[in-house]
Amino acid sequence: MEPGAPSGALAAPDRFFKYWLIAPAIFLLLLIGLFPLVYSLIVSFQRLTMLEADTSFAGLANYAQLFRDHRLWESLLHTAVITVIALPLELILGLAMAQLFLERMPGRQFFVSLLVLPTIISPIVAGAMWRLMLDNRYGPINQIIGWFAGKPVTLLWTVNPDLVYPAIIFCEIWQWTPFMFLILLAALSNVDRSLTEAAEIDGAGYWRTLVRIVLPQIWPVMAVAILIRGLDLVRIFDIIWALTGGGPGTITETISIYTYIQGFQQFETSYTAAIAFLVIAILTIIVVWAIRRMGLAK
C-alpha cells in the first residue's frame, strides 16, 4: 500500500496504526471516565468509612439514605438556584456587551483584551479577590455603597444569610460574563449583514431584527456557550469554597461542596461513593443528550 517501510518498533501494520495512536488516550480516559464510575458503584454497596474498612455488603442502604438526606437535596437546590440565576444573567449581559462592541470603534481590540482578563484568572483567586473586595470594613464595595447611601455601610457579604447568594452570584457573573461576551462577539461578527440590513429596510425595529434575524443565526454558538457554562455552574466549587466555604452553616453548599465534605471531612466513604455515582450518572445523561442534541460531535 505504501512504498516506505517504517523500521523497528514503528513498523506497525497499517490497519493497527490508528489504534496505536489512540490507545494511550483511551487508557487514560478510562482512568477518569470508567474507573470512578465502576469503583463508586462497588464501594457504594459496602459499609466503608475512612476510619473503618468494613467491606461487607450493605445492599441499597446507602442509596436509601440518599433519599432521606435533606442536606443532599438542599445542596442540589442551591446548585440549581445559582445556575438558574447566574446563567441567564451572564448570557444577557454578555450579549449586551457584545452588541456594544460589535460596531467598529478605535481601540476596540484593546478594550476586548482587557475585558477578557477576569475569565482567565483561577476561580479560586477570583473568589479570594472578592472576599477582599467584599470585606465589611476594609473592602471597597461597602465603601462605594456607602457613598451612594450617604452613610457608612457595613454589610457582611460572606456571612449574612441574606447576602451570601448575591455575593456568590455577583462574583460568578463578574468572572464569566466576559466568557459569554467574547464568544457572542465572535458569533455576532459572523452574522450576515445583508440580512439585518434588509430587515431594517423593511421597517423591522431593533428588537425585532435581533430576535428574528440575529439570534437564530448565532444560536448554534450560543447553545455551545450555554452548555459549557451551564455544566460549569452545575459543578461549581472553587468560587464558593473561597468566598463562603459553603457557609454560613450549610446555606451555600452546592452538590460539589457537599460531596467533598461527606468524603473528606465526614469520611463517609461508601455513602460518598453513592453520591458520586448519582452525580456522575445524572451528568452523563445530561451531557450525552446535550452533545447529541446540539450536534457538537459533528
Binding site: G33, S122, P123, V125, M133, V279, I280
Partner: protein, 280 residues
C-alpha cells in the same frame, strides 16, 4: 434604543456614548484585579486602613519577600511542574488520538462523543475514587499522581481542539508525502505537526492555564510536598484573621503567568475557550 432622541443618533454623540460605556465596563471589570494588585503592594497599615486606601502611597514588595523567605513561593514552582508536565503529556497523547479520529474515523461518532463527555464530568465525583486509588498506590502528594490526573482530565479538551486544527490540514499534502515514500509516522512528523503548529501551541497554552488554575484535584491530592499555589492561597483564609497581604501577593504570583500566556494567544482566545465552537 427606540426611546433615543435624535441627538443620540448623531454619529459623534453615539461614538462618545459607546466609549463612555466601554470605559465604564472596563473599570468595573478590572477594578477587582487592580485591588488585588495594590493590596499585594500595600503595607499592613494601608491594608487595614479605614476608610480604604485607594492607591498605595509608596509601593513596597515586602509581601512578596515574605512569600519567598518562608518558602511559600515554592507552591508556584509546584504548579509550574504539574501544569507543564501534564500539558506536554496531554498534547502528545491527545494530538495522536485526534489524528486517529480525524483521518481514520476511529470508533466513529460514539467514541468522539464519549471522549468529549469526559470533559464535562464533575471533578468532585472523579477525584473521590481516584483519591482512594492513590491512597492504595501511595501516590497521594506526589508529582506523578497529579500529573497523571491532570493529563487525563485535559485530554478531551486537547483531542477536541486538535481535531479541529487537523481537519483544517489539506489531505493532499499527506497523500503526496505518502507517495513520496514517507511512512505513517514520518507523515505525522513532517507534515501534520508542522502544519498544525499554531493550533498545537494555542491548545497547549490553554491546557496549561486550565491545569495551572485547577484547585479541587490539588486540594484533595496534595498534603505538604506538591501543594499548588491555588491551594496555598486558601491556606491563608482563617476566620477573622485572614492574611490579606499573603492572599493578595500569592494570587498575583499565580495570575501574572496566566496573563502573559493568554496575551500571546490573543488571536486564538475565542476558539480556545469555546472548545472550537467558534473558529477564529
Amino acid at each position: 434604543m427606540s426611546a433615543a432622541t435624535p441627538v443620540f443618533r448623531r454619529p459623534g454623540v453615539r461614538l462618545s456614548l459607546r466609549y463612555l460605556a466601554a470605559l465604564l465596563l472596563t473599570v468595573i471589570f478590572l477594578f477587582p484585579i487592580y485591588w488585588l494588585f495594590i493590596i499585594s503592594l500595600k503595607t499592613p497599615e494601608e491594608i487595614f486602613a479605614f476608610p480604604p486606601v485607594w492607591y498605595p502611597k509608596n509601593l513596597q514588595f515586602a509581601n512578596y519577600r515574605v512569600l519567598f523567605r518562608d518558602g511559600d513561593a515554592v507552591t508556584v514552582w509546584n504548579s509550574l511542574v504539574l501544569a507543564g508536565a501534564s500539558t506536554i503529556l496531554a498534547m502528545i497523547i491527545g494530538t495522536l488520538a485526534a489524528y486517529s479520529l480525524v483521518r481514520f474515523k476511529t470508533g466513529g461518532e460514539n467514541l468522539a462523543v464519549w471522549i468529549i463527555s469526559q470533559r464535562m464530568m464533575p471533578p468532585v465525583a472523579i477525584v473521590f475514587p481516584i483519591f482512594l486509588l492513590y491512597v492504595f498506590f501511595g501516590w497521594v502528594d506526589s508529582y506523578h499522581g497529579l500529573i497523571l490526573l491532570y493529563t487525563a482530565f485535559n485530554l478531551p479538551y486537547v483531542i477536541w481542539m486538535m481535531r479541529g486544527y487537523i481537519e483544517d490540514i489539506p489531505l493532499e499534502l499527506e497523500e503526496s508525502a505518502l507517495v513520496d515514500g514517507c511512512g505513517r509516522w514520518a507523515v505525522l512528523w513532517k507534515v501534520v505537526f508542522p502544519m498544525a503548529r499554531t493550533g498545537l501551541f494555542a491548545t497547549a497554552v490553554f491546557t496549561f492555564v486550565f491545569a495551572w488554575n485547577e484547585f479541587l484535584f490539588a486540594l484533595v491530592l496534595t498534603r505538604t510536598e506538591v501543594i499548588t499555589y491555588t491551594v496555598q492561597v486558601t491556606h491563608y483564609f482563617g476566620g477573622q484573621s485572614n492574611f490579606w497581604a499573603k492572599i493578595a501577593a500569592m494570587s498575583v504570583l499565580g495570575t501574572i503567568p496566566v496573563f502573559v500566556a493568554v496575551a500571546t494567544m490573543q488571536r486564538y482566545l475565542v476558539r480556545g475557550i469555546s472548545m472550537g465552537a467558534v473558529k477564529g
